[in-house]
């Protein structure tokens, strides 16, 4: 439902009169209360002298409201605060769902210095494709722990239904201007989940030029990750039932560099361009993804699973590049239009194009709404293989993870928000639909040709954000 400014104002009128009535009633009650209190508190005996500790109860003896209001006052004197608190709900049809509460808190100090903090919890459950192909016969798989099994009915994409994980991540950053022309940011973050831990350090230096209309930024980031998969870390092409080295954690390092330029074009237009390059080394194989071995084309049962499943194997080095351009154009009373484009390419021969458009429209003084569209087009990694063929030599690397295959994806969304209180706070609901469509031409033959090896993924995304 969209409200015109007039309708929005009309809707607030009854609330105003209600507010006045409630205020009057509250004032009357408080006045009566204070008179009653005054009557009760007339001293009949001299007051008993009290020591300091009696006058100032310990923190744990104070009512919670007192404690919080004193803490709030102390913090308010120290810095100004703003931030966001929100909830993300992500649900794929018949697959994974995620629930992710997050909070951003920024403390602002004199001189433009800020200290930002971001905390997020991420809970995932549901079924995830294990990489194996559908088959004419039902298939049974051993779970990652090696102690359980799960099955895929004939003709269906095998999914591991036991997928669940909880992640907690915290990141922080310090920003400060250095004189009139420079800015400096340093930050770090930690993330921990059952089978994966990550530590990130980053820093960016920016230089203003051209009367602060041009900003040039240089940034670097270092990430250190440790993967400790359930049931051990497969080294690549281990078979599903092979005993994996237990308790073997494997590391990965990621170094990123970014050069960015933002330019004010006019009072209403600002543009940004970034080039970034990232280099990863270490364990990048997905320890839970399998590859099916199928009977060759010459076989009478061509395309059927042989019952042998290999763990995938990815290269242990990857260099990613991206070129990103973004623009924001102010349409005055008609809101703000934002657009972006990213070209991505890497040493695994993945290439992708990402287009995004966002439109935010104010609906009177209180309400605002928005629409967004994102389109993503990806070409496959050179080692992407939907299956392996019996009798053929194993390749150097292979993965049947559809996320490394040819695909496109589209996201469409709509949001509605309202300013609360005196306009300092804002509550926004954002609903999006995301659909990935992997390439269906995967060279399937024989019995396999009748099945969709990598079906579409459809997801609903709901975001609720309270800004303060």
């Amino acid at each position: 439902m969209q409200l015109t400014p007039q309708k929005a104002e009309k809707k607030t009128e009854p609330k105003k009169s209600l507010k006045i009535a409630l205020s009057a009633a509250t004032a009357t009650l408080l006045a009566v209360g204070s008179f009653a209190h005054a009557e009760e508190s007339v001293p009949t005996e001299p007051p008993v002298p009290s020591n300091d500790s009696a006058q100032k109860p310990a923190v744990w003896d104070q009512p919670p409201s007192d404690f919080f209001s004193r803490t709030y006052s102390a913090l308010k004197g120290w810095a100004k605060f703003n931030g966001e608190v929100g909830l993300l709900y992500y649900k794929e049809t018949n697959r994974v769902s995620a629930f992710e509460p997050s909070v951003n808190l920024v403390a602002m100090f004199d001189g433009g210095k800020t200290w930002s903090n971001h905390l997020t919890l991420d809970s995932l459950t549901g079924a995830s494709p294990n990489g194996a192909t559908p088959s004419r016969n039902a298939q049974t798989f051993t779970g990652p722990s090696g102690n359980s099994t799960y099955s895929a009915p004939a003709g269906q994409v095998p999914v591991d239904g036991s997928f669940h994980d909880t992640r907690i991540a915290y990141s922080t950053g310090w920003f400060q201007p250095l004189g009139e022309k420079y800015e400096f940011t340093v930050g770090g973050g930690v993330s921990s989940e059952y089978d994966y831990r990550s530590l990130t350090l980053s820093s960016t230096v920016s230089r203003y030029l051209n009367s602060k209309n041009t900003k040039l930024s240089l940034g670097a980031s270092l990430e250190l990750d440790v993967s400790d998969p359930v049931g051990g870390a497969p080294q690549g092409f281990d078979t599903m039932n092979a005993k994996l080295p237990a308790d073997k954690a494997l590391g990965k390092t990621v170094q990123d560099f970014l050069i960015g330029l933002s330019q004010v074009m006019s009072r209403r237009l600002i543009v940004q361009a970034n080039y970034s390059i990232g280099s990863s080394h270490g364990y990048m194989t997905d320890p839970y993804k399998l590859l099916s071995e199928v009977l060759p084309e010459a076989n009478v049962n061509a395309g059927d699973s042989t019952g042998v499943y290999y763990y995938e194997k990815r290269p242990d080095a990857r260099t990613k590049n991206s070129l990103y351009v973004g623009a924001k154009y102010h349409l005055l009373k008609l809101g703000i239009l934002s657009g972006s484009y990213r070209y991505f390419w890497d040493s695994w021969h993945v290439h992708s194009h990402t287009f995004g458009v966002d439109y935010d429209l104010p609906l009177g003084p209180k309400w605002h709404a928005g629409l967004d569209v994102r389109y993503y087009l990806q070409s496959k990694a050179d080692f992407y293989r939907p299956f392996l063929i019996q009798g053929e030599a194993l390749p150097s690397y292979a993965s049947a993870d559809y996320r490394l295959g040819d695909m496109d994806a589209i996201t469409v969304g709509a949001k509605i928000g309202k300013k609360i209180g005196e306009g300092k706070n804002d509550l926004t609901f954002h609903l999006q639909y995301y659909q990935q469509t992997p390439d269906s031409n995967l060279g399937a033959f024989g019995s396999l040709a009748q099945y969709t090896i990598a079906p579409s993924v459809k997801a609903l995304i709901l975001k609720m954000i309270f800004g303060f």
């Binding site: 994966y196 009367s211 009072r267 993503y376 996320r403």
Partner: protein
């Protein structure tokens, strides 16, 4: 190209700035875990075992 300091009223509005937000953090996480590309507007690292 560019504006004088007194013409920055519109550019100073929150919707006209490039930068990370709660929502952009969620988006980065979703797309990092579902697609083979990442980064662009910021660093490309993921910090999670989701891909």
């Amino acid at each position: 190209m560019g504006v004088k300091p007194w013409d920055r009223d519109l550019l100073a509005q929150p919707g006209m700035t490039f930068g990370a937000s709660l929502e952009s953090g969620w988006d980065d996480h979703i797309y990092f875990s579902k697609e083979a590309s990442s980064g662009g507007s910021g660093f490309s690292g993921g910090g999670c075992g989701c891909n």
